[in-house]
């Protein structure tokens, strides 16, 4: 009896601090958020149970729909471009492991820079004045001065470029690591069989990188759907809603309009969506390994 108790008590004590903070700051908020999504949250008066009304509002809300569309564009463009560019960079670095270390170190600086700082750096690079850095570069190619983040037609695309600056080097490092694990004998065999460079890429390198590519795509999607800091700190969703994404919209609903119930319902939908992406990925990986 004492022994059994001890066997349980020791791990319980070691786990207690972690479980306490997880309960307080993750599990309770999760449960509370889920509950609030079924209520109309009132201030100074009891909350009203309104069933699924918040969720039906989510489906009809045009502003939220526009934000979801922007998020979708942002995610698909950044994730696909990032994979392609990173793959090209990784291929160009294949086989020169010796120089890579110092260059890899340098290329990683954008990836470790915090989103809010990144936003300020790019606000300055995107200065819409003729002397601004990006406009000076544009002038080299004979392009007229742009408005960048002030331009409602292009602001989202400029934010995508900012995102790529951070994600391409990161993805590239993952691909370089993945390439290092590909069996060299496969390349030898391909050479003996007279495979062209394209065939080596198509039938040896890409299949060997399937796992790394999937990870990059899935992580990119999961992070992309909830993008917040880098957009809030650059445009705040403007100009004229051109860069509004799901999370900047939810932030406004919750912390500007104080519509807690509705904002919670939108958060629940976003969570279910990201969780589904994750589960699909896990399922896919299981099938691949089986």
């Amino acid at each position: 009896m004492m022994r059994a108790l001890r066997q349980w008590l020791v791990p319980a004590l070691f786990l207690a601090p972690a479980l306490l903070v997880f309960t307080w700051f993750k599990f309770i908020p999760m449960a509370l958020g889920l509950r609030m999504s079924f209520y109309k949250v009132n201030f100074g008066a009891p909350n009203e149970w309104i069933g699924l009304e918040n969720f039906s509002r989510v489906l009809e809300d045009e502003a939220l729909g526009a934000a979801a569309w922007n998020t979708f564009l942002y995610v698909t463009c950044t994730v696909s471009l990032s994979v392609v560019l990173a793959l090209l960079l990784a291929l160009s670095m294949q086989g020169v492991t010796r120089h890579i270390r110092i260059i890899r170190t340098a290329l990683f600086l954008p990836a470790i820079t915090s989103a809010a700082v990144l936003a300020e750096v790019w606000r300055i690079l995107y200065a819409p004045t003729p002397d601004g850095i990006m406009n000076s570069i544009a002038a080299l190619f004979g392009i007229t001065a742009q408005g960048y983040l002030n331009d409602p037609d292009w602001a989202l695309q400029w934010l995508m470029l900012m995102h790529l600056w951070k994600s391409v080097p990161y993805d590239m490092v993952i691909f370089v690591a993945g390439m290092a694990t590909i069996n060299h004998e496969l390349y030898e065999a391909a050479r003996v069989d007279g495979a062209t460079a394209w065939q080596r890429l198509r039938f040896v390198t890409i299949p060997g990188l399937t796992h790394a590519i999937t990870i990059v795509i899935v992580l990119g999607m999961i992070r992309g759907f909830r993008v917040f800091a880098e957009i809030q700190a650059t445009t705040g969703g403007g100009p004229a809603g051109a860069t509004e994404v799901i999370m900047t919209r939810i932030y406004k609903l919750g912390f500007v309009q104080f519509d807690y119930g509705y904002a919670s319902a939108a958060s629940v939908v976003l969570f279910v969506f990201t969780a589904l992406c994750t589960l699909l990925y896990l399922q896919w990986r299981k099938r691949l390994e089986a």
Binding site: Q7, W8, V10, P11, A12, F14, L15, P17, A18, L19, V21, W24, F25, K26, F27, I28, P29, M30, G33, I103, T105, L109, I112, T113, S114, A115, A116, V117, E120, V121, R123, I124, A127, T129, D131, G132, I133, W165, P169, I174, A177, G178, T181, I222, F225, F228, A229, A233, M247, I250, G254, F255, Y260, S264, S267, V268, L270, F271, T274, T278
Partner: protein, 283 residues
């Protein structure tokens, strides 16, 4: 013969080096320009950056330190990152010890619960977290507008727990048993046997934890509604709003905000790469 051989070699290597140079300009150029602009005079136009200061001065930093509240924001950031990191690594090590070295009923459930939070985007629980921080269950106190409110929610981090669990699992059982034979207590085994053996993993979770905490944006934003509690990265937007401040001073302030994560990354690169590759290869 020998000469011409090395010339062809150089000719073949040249495009590659030009390509590397281009990469460095694109991805490191902005950092370089920010550093150089920060040390140049205060008379620049908005949006203007310099790549080599004609007469380097510390004027911008002097202005930033004495005429803005940057020191206050930097102090907030330092407090949060120091206490946050110590607590995060401590509770992660404790939890990892139980998960890696003990068999107990419910072990799988606890792992699942912790793992599930990795799927949960923090942004999604921002509103209920704000309400919880305003009235902590059991204690009935508010942590809004406190440093503690910005620290406690980030010290439970599933990544850190799982990274340490993986490494602790690899420590041979014989070492633990030998210590137990010598009469070591549970705590002594944790502290004197296991922890010293997983130092590299502790380095990894420290550098990732630092970058994660420095990257926090939404949490300080919802916890603090007084600006003097903001962390430096979050305060940048309100610092920028001061129109009397010369543009180059703001560049210097942004440089101050990016330096800590760069320095810790450069200092602990080996540990950083270990974590990156573990994540990339194992998923």
């Amino acid at each position: 013969m020998h000469d011409s051989f090395s010339w062809t070699k150089l000719g073949a290597a040249l495009p590659r080096w030009c390509f590397y140079a281009l990469l460095l300009v694109v991805f490191v150029g902005p950092f370089w320009a920010f550093a150089m602009t920060a040390f140049s005079g205060v008379t620049l136009q908005p949006g203007e950056l310099v790549f080599w200061p004609k007469s380097p001065t510390m004027d911008n930093f002097h202005y930033a330190w004495f005429k803005t509240r940057v020191w206050r924001y930097l102090l907030n950031s330092m407090l949060i990152v120091t206490f946050g990191l110590v607590l995060q690594v401590s509770i992660s090590s404790l939890a990892a010890y139980a998960l890696a070295r003990k068999r107990f009923v419910g072990s799988a459930v606890v792992s699942m619960l912790i793992l599930s939070t990795m799927m949960l985007p923090e942004e999604v629980i921002a509103i209920p977290l704000y309400l919880v921080l305003g009235n902590i269950p059991l204690f009935k106190v508010s942590l809004l507008n406190t440093h503690l409110g910005m620290i406690l929610p980030l010290i439970g981090w599933a990544f850190s727990i799982f990274m340490l669990t993986e490494f602790m699992k690899k420590v041979p059982l014989e070492l633990e048993e030998a210590a137990r034979m010598d009469g070591a207590s549970e705590w002594q085994i944790f502290w004197l046997v296991i922890l010293p053996l997983i130092k590299p993993a502790l380095g990894t979770v420290t550098v990732f934890g630092f970058i994660m905490i420095w990257d926090q944006y939404l949490l300080p934003l919802i916890v603090a509604n007084r600006e003097d509690l903001y962390t430096l990265p979050v305060a940048l937007a309100s610092v920028r709003a001061d129109e009397a401040m010369p543009p180059a001073v703001f560049v210097a302030i942004t440089l101050i905000a990016m330096l800590p994560s760069i320095l810790i990354y450069l200092a602990m690169q080996k540990a950083f790469n270990r974590g990156l590759l573990a994540g990339a290869v194992k998923g």
